[in-house]
Amino acid sequence: MPQHIRFFLSIIILTSWLSACTSTTMVSPRISDNQAVLALLHASYDHSVAGDYANAEVKLERALRIEPGNADLWYELAHIKFQQEQYSQAESLALRANSFAGNKDFLRRDIWNLIGQARGAQNNFNGAQEAYKKARTY
């Protein structure tokens, strides 16, 4: 391939990759239209990353009081419980998230994968397999 074509091709690939990246580093606007919820979710992420799970949970619970039917928030809470090795609650909260997930297929997939992991951690291997299988259907 001629030099300049290779050069332009790599520019195109690089820019499309970069734009894909930037759109996923921000909190997806589809999670909520409510600024308060988004602010709390951001704060929760920050706490999580710092390992301060107690405060991460508190922020999420505040967000859930505002939007109790928001599947992403429930999922995030389930995830935090999982990080704290509270597997039974992680599973229950993920199931709760699932009930609100509507047609958010990507989220459902994440949810069922988390359920699978949580079940596995509780030695419920059959249940885990079922969950992973379900995740693959999305």
Partner: protein, 757 residues
């Protein structure tokens, strides 16, 4: 007298003194330790969270601000003040230490439009604010039995200006003497000689010791004992400990039957501020009041208090703690007393009862009463007050309407947040300020038709046998079981309705079809369903249980309906969010926890049917209070002889249960719909309820059916019922549109609910 005898006598005296000293030392220690650790826990309601889009009326915001003792002023200049111009509020929010972090003072500008917050801005920076919290309303404390009140402060929290003022006026050699100040005594003695009575001369240590005695005596003997004890106190404890205890112990006033002890509480009581927020002229007043809190009470004797305060300021100036410039400025200040003292004992005893019960299962009661904990609860004071007011009012109206003598009826109400299980309201009776029988938590009454959803839910868990259109048999039923009397349940008007679709039988609350259904399914299975819904009480396995002879408290009923409202996820109720120590260390956090006990599809069908109760059935009257667009789900409950009137239901954000009846189990003369439901409706109508949109589980499909036959029909037919079904369970057969000739036209209420999705 020989020399030996004198010595002997002297030694004996010495021994007596030593023994007396040991005795006093014991008293001192016991009292001091006791005073130090008699600390109540302070309890708070939920903080009001503010964000753009939040449903809130100006009246509700004002109610919260009033409960918080914020002063209304045209130009808020200090925290604890607000102004309102039409629908724009300017609030100077107080700083507050929450369990999840300290929050600084903030000035907020809030604009409300159409019953919701339209704009939320930081008034200083003019930047939009995503979310803000007001400080939480204090709803009381858990106190030692004496009815005393404390707001414990640590020495570090006390402003230096207050300490300086205190020492300057009361005991300026505090840090250098050993409990007794000889120079002060000398001065007092000269006063004694001059005026013939003991006056002053007491150090702070001595004043503290004075508090150890129950009776005030101003004799020389008492004075000497106090001096001795003061010396012992200083020997045993540090200056700072003594000072701190003194600051928390001194008597600074009276609020009806509640004594105000300590500067922390006095600061709240007189100025609505925490001690750290006291300004110098306010501290000076409190110090001035030490000599006579009743005679210098700023609310009763303002002029006298002002003079006294200025005297203190003069002394401070004389001793060089403040300069002339400050002095001149400060004596110009008014007293700055807050107009209304806050309440001590809780105005919400029924809710506090729940808080205490929840704490008791996790803590030693002594810990609770002695640690000075800060407890953050889930109480919603706005909703609580609306519920209290409405219940009391409606009970009076119902008595008049049904010609009952006054105070015959009682009631209870609980309200829980739908998804989180947080208890927002507990009303234990028609006189909510009084600590009495807590009907919400303890009155176990027959629930009547409120039990039916457990039967229908059990049925709907078998979609191959039962769907919402399955025809049930509402003809006469005679149930015979060996060992019990023949049972012949009847419907409300003693009518029988032949074959009825399941959803209609529930909507109209027909007894006979429900009883037959329950018997077909097996009572044990029904009881198991009730258990999964969260009912822990043992139910008797007899047929009569099906029609609600079980006795439950409103709280237990709420648990069952809450599980339905959360789609089959049982959520234990919480009245507490977090507990913090006095130092600010988080002690225990009651987080959100759920457990899926029921498959979501049958619960969804049941919820839809409960919406039918309100649209078409016994709950129809709710529309007088709440718009049909809210799609409220609920169930009426009436017991035999109209002894109990119940309503349990849920909106998008709240689950609430109301009971009305008589404590003596007399007939009320009205049904659940005529009584409890009206209370329910009126309360919810004041609280901006969210519409109920049930999330549809994956296994559910929506089908159009013919109302009469329950068979599939084209969606464009005139008479169509659009209902949810578990996938594959809907009737396979179709039928042609029935003609529109008379008969009952059943509205497409389900269609309206689901087409919005």
């Amino acid at each position: 007298m020989t020399f030996k005898r004198i010595v002997f006598f002297f030694l004996l005296l010495l021994l007596a003194l030593v023994l007396y000293g040991v005795y006093l030392d014991y008293i001192v220690r016991q009292q001091f330790e006791g005073k130090r650790f008699e600390l109540p826990a302070r309890v708070y309601a939920r903080p009001l969270e503010l964000f753009v889009g939040m449903a809130l009326t100006p009246q509700q915001l004002r109610t919260e601000l009033e409960l918080l003792k914020y002063t209304s002023t045209p130009d808020p200049s200090t925290s604890g003040q607000y102004s309102q111009q039409n629908d724009v509020f300017l609030i100077y929010v107080r700083a507050f230490d929450f369990w999840d972090g300290a929050q600084e003072e903030q000035q907020l500008r809030i604009e409300i439009r159409g019953s919701a917050i339209a704009s939320l801005v930081d008034a200083e920076t003019n930047q939009g604010v995503d979310i803000a919290r007001l400080d939480p309303v204090g709803i009381g404390g858990i106190y030692p039995s004496k009815g005393e009140d404390r707001e414990l402060v640590r020495l570090e929290q006390v402003p230096e200006s207050l300490i300086n003022a205190l020492l300057a006026i009361e005991d300026h050699r505090f840090y250098s003497h050993h409990g007794v100040d000889p120079r002060a005594i000398l001065r007092a003695l000269t006063t004694l000689i001059g005026r013939g009575r003991i006056q002053g001369g007491s150090t702070i240590t001595q004043q503290l010791v004075k508090n150890f005695f129950l009776t005030p005596e101003r004799t020389l003997r008492r004075k000497l004992t106090e001096m001795l004890m003061a010396l012992l106190l200083e020997w045993r404890y540090s200056k700072n400990d003594i000072l701190e205890t003194y600051l928390n112990e001194v008597y600074l006033g009276q609020d009806r039957n509640r004594a105000i002890h300590g500067f922390g509480l006095a600061s709240q009581f007189y100025f609505n501020r925490s001690i750290e927020q006291l300004e110098l002229h306010q501290a000076a007043l409190l110090v001035g009041m030490l000599k006579g809190p009743v005679s210098y009470n700023p609310r009763q004797h303002a002029q006298r208090a002002l003079t006294r305060r200025n005297l203190v300021l003069a002394e401070l100036s004389r001793r060089g703690y403040i300069d002339k410039h400050q002095y001149d400025a400060l004596i110009q200040r008014s007293l700055d007393i807050s107009p209304k003292p806050n309440m001590g004992l809780s105005p919400y005893p029924a809710f506090m009862d729940l808080v205490v019960r929840q704490l008791r299962s996790d803590y030693d009661e002594d810990d609770l009463r002695t640690e000075g904990l800060r407890i953050f609860t889930t109480l919603d004071p706005i909703a609580q007050r609306a519920a209290e007011r409405t219940l009391t009012k409606r009970l009076g109206e119902l008595e008049q309407q049904h010609r009952l003598s006054a105070n015959t009826l009682e009631g209870a109400l609980v309200m829980i947040h739908s998804q989180s299980g947080e208890v927002n309201v507990v009303v234990g009776g028609r006189r909510p300020r009084f600590e009495g029988f807590n009907r919400a938590l303890d009155a176990a009454r027959q629930i009547g038709s409120l039990f039916k959803p457990a039967i229908y839910l059990t049925a709907l868990q078998q979609p191959e046998r039962y769907t919402l259109v399955t025809l049930l048999d509402d003809s006469e039923l005679l149930w015979q079981e060996p060992g019990i009397e023949d049972w012949q349940p009847s419907n409300y008007n003693n009518q029988y309705h032949g074959e009825v679709p399941l959803w209609l039988a529930l909507a109209k609350s027909y007894n006979v079809s429900a009883a037959r259904l329950g018997l077909d399914l097996g009572i044990q299975n029904i009881i198991e369903t009730a258990n999964k819904l969260g009912l822990e009480r043992n139910l008797s396995p007899y047929a009569s249980t099906l029609l609600g002879t079980a006795e439950l408290t409103p709280m237990e009923v709420a648990q069952m309906y809450h599980t339905i409202a959360s789609g089959g996820f049982r959520t234990p109720f919480r009245a507490i969010r977090a507990v913090m120590t006095i130092e600010g260390k988080p002690l225990k956090r009651y987080g959100l926890a759920v457990k899926q006990t029921l498959a979501p599809e049958p619960v969804y069908l049941l919820s839809a049917a409960l919406q039918g109760v309100v649209r078409e059935g016994t709950g129809k009257g709710l529309q007088h209070y709440l718009s049909p667009a809210l799609n409220v789900a609920g169930k009426t409950g009436t017991t035999d002889g109209l002894r109990d009137s119940w309503f349990a239901g849920f909106t998008g954000d709240r689950v609430a249960v109301v009971w009305v009846g008589s404590d003596h189990n007399q007939s009320t003369g009205f049904t659940g719909a005529a009584g409890a439901m009206t209370v329910w409706g009126e309360v919810l109508s004041q609280l901006n309820p969210r519409p109920l949109t049930l999330p549809q589980p994956e296994g559910i499909e929506i089908i159009s059916v013919d109302p009469l036959s329950g068979l599939r029909v084209d969606a464009n037919c005139q008479e169509v019922l659009t209902l949810p079904f578990v996938g594959g369970s809907a009737p396979k057969e179709s039928v042609r549109c029935t003609s529109v000739s008379g008969g009952n036209k059943i509205k497409n209420w389900f269609k309206r609910i689901f087409s919005g999705e």
